[in-house]
Symmetry: C2
Amino acid sequence: MADPGFDDVLAAAARIAPHAHVTPVLDSRTIDALAGASLHFKAEHLQRVGAFKYRGACNAVWGLDADEARRGVVTHSSGNHGAALALAARGRGIGCHVVVPEGAVAGKLAAIEAYGATLHRCAPTIAAREAMCAQLAGQLGARIVHPYTDPLVIAGQGTAALELLAARRLDALVVPVGGGGLASGTALAIAGASPHTQLFVAEPEGAAETAASLATGERVTDFMPDTICDGLRGTLGAINFELLKSHGAKALVVDDTATLAAMLLVWTRMKQLIEPSAAVALAAVLAHRELFEGRRVGIILSGGNADLTALVNA
Amino acid sequence: MADPGFDDVLAAAARIAPHAHVTPVLDSRTIDALAGASLHFKAEHLQRVGAFKYRGACNAVWGLDADEARRGVVTHSSGNHGAALALAARGRGIGCHVVVPEGAVAGKLAAIEAYGATLHRCAPTIAAREAMCAQLAGQLGARIVHPYTDPLVIAGQGTAALELLAARRLDALVVPVGGGGLASGTALAIAGASPHTQLFVAEPEGAAETAASLATGERVTDFMPDTICDGLRGTLGAINFELLKSHGAKALVVDDTATLAAMLLVWTRMKQLIEPSAAVALAAVLAHRELFEGRRVGIILSGGNADLTALVNA
């Protein structure tokens, strides 16, 4: 499959329109005052399954031809992508198998099962997950939908930025980066819809391999993530790295304390329940006032599947 | 001042339009499925100061003539009304003094001070609060704006239901009841805008004097509230009782466990951060399926100022 481009984002927007929500853009004058900037929050925590991941999953599921679709889909995921693919597959009436690592967030696994997928547990390493995925795909003849390197997934994730850029004129757009599906899809959307908008990717200090990769020009893959942002522990994919590099994306690294403070700010002032991984972009904007002061800044609130039980018992 | 009527709600809507938000109406297919009904949530936690109270406070502040306004306003409040009056007073550029009981939620007091009001602490009894209010009002010549018996406050609170009834055709409307400002204002809005809509008031078991008052036809005032719903501990006012009684409102009583479960449902499925007092109406709907099944039901999510620090440390 060729690398995805802006046309693929447009095609994804048309393909997912009957299934995914056009999420609202939210504002907060209190947070604007704190940031000294005009912030525009794309509310992907209000997307179906509570995360932007539904966009890419829908694009992948509805992008299958009838013969492929009959054999179902397989993926591995620490949470939101698994739930998203399960719901998208149920929407098309096809099977979905999800390989999940031991130690994944309980609430997210429950959601995946509730959407009708079959769970397969494995050791919490990339190698173990990919091996079990390949084995299942071989047995079933099913299509593997990778959480962030699949071109249809990348194009689907780009539709969030496409909608935001259609709604607001932006000087900069800041998105969280883990594996890079949202970040690289956003790069495609910016390139086609608003090339003057600067792209920043925000990353937790305990999983900052994207910043290291962009700084050195070589993709870093050997690291052990250590962050509360459970959605951002994946390793930046090769295709995602190339797209971010060629677009000139800039990485901003923030520590978990700043991310938790930003999350609580969104909870208390905007009354929106976002997950830690979604707060990293706002944390980056607040930590780098010099980059954003006086500008119009878009932020993608990527998801809202916080494990409240863990929080309340912490 | 004469008892407020539907015309006063219409006048309030016009008076507060430049200051208060028209809040969105939210839906959740997951919660609809649980309730077996079509629920329409009026998102007053997204109102300014995070609660419907801003409506009544604005109507009272902007309803003063120039001479009254110069001398400022005084009130007592366990939280949201104090913050709302402080912000409304600041909007008109007049002084605001707020008597707060010892033991009030810390986050709410901080909000009142942040809006520029002067705090005056007193013992946590109605008598102590009213005495200090009267004393301050005498010293300053300032108008006392009672949190729920003031006719302008009642009419202002009715504008939330007015907006909801303009946006949705409803068979029933369910609102939380504490002192009764929102409940009686809602009764006025229904009477004028949608008389076929049934009014239910939802009340915590540990402060269920409205249910007792409506059942006996005599207002119960001698009780000691015991509920996590800190916004619903006030005693139903005399004028509020008369308005609810003459409208034929029905009371539904729910325990705090059901209210917390409903709150978590809104947090996890709608990603909206509401406070316990706001969840009591949904709890009542879920506990009384026989009353609401298959019907179009409005619910006012009254506020979002939950004390997250207390929750996380609990």
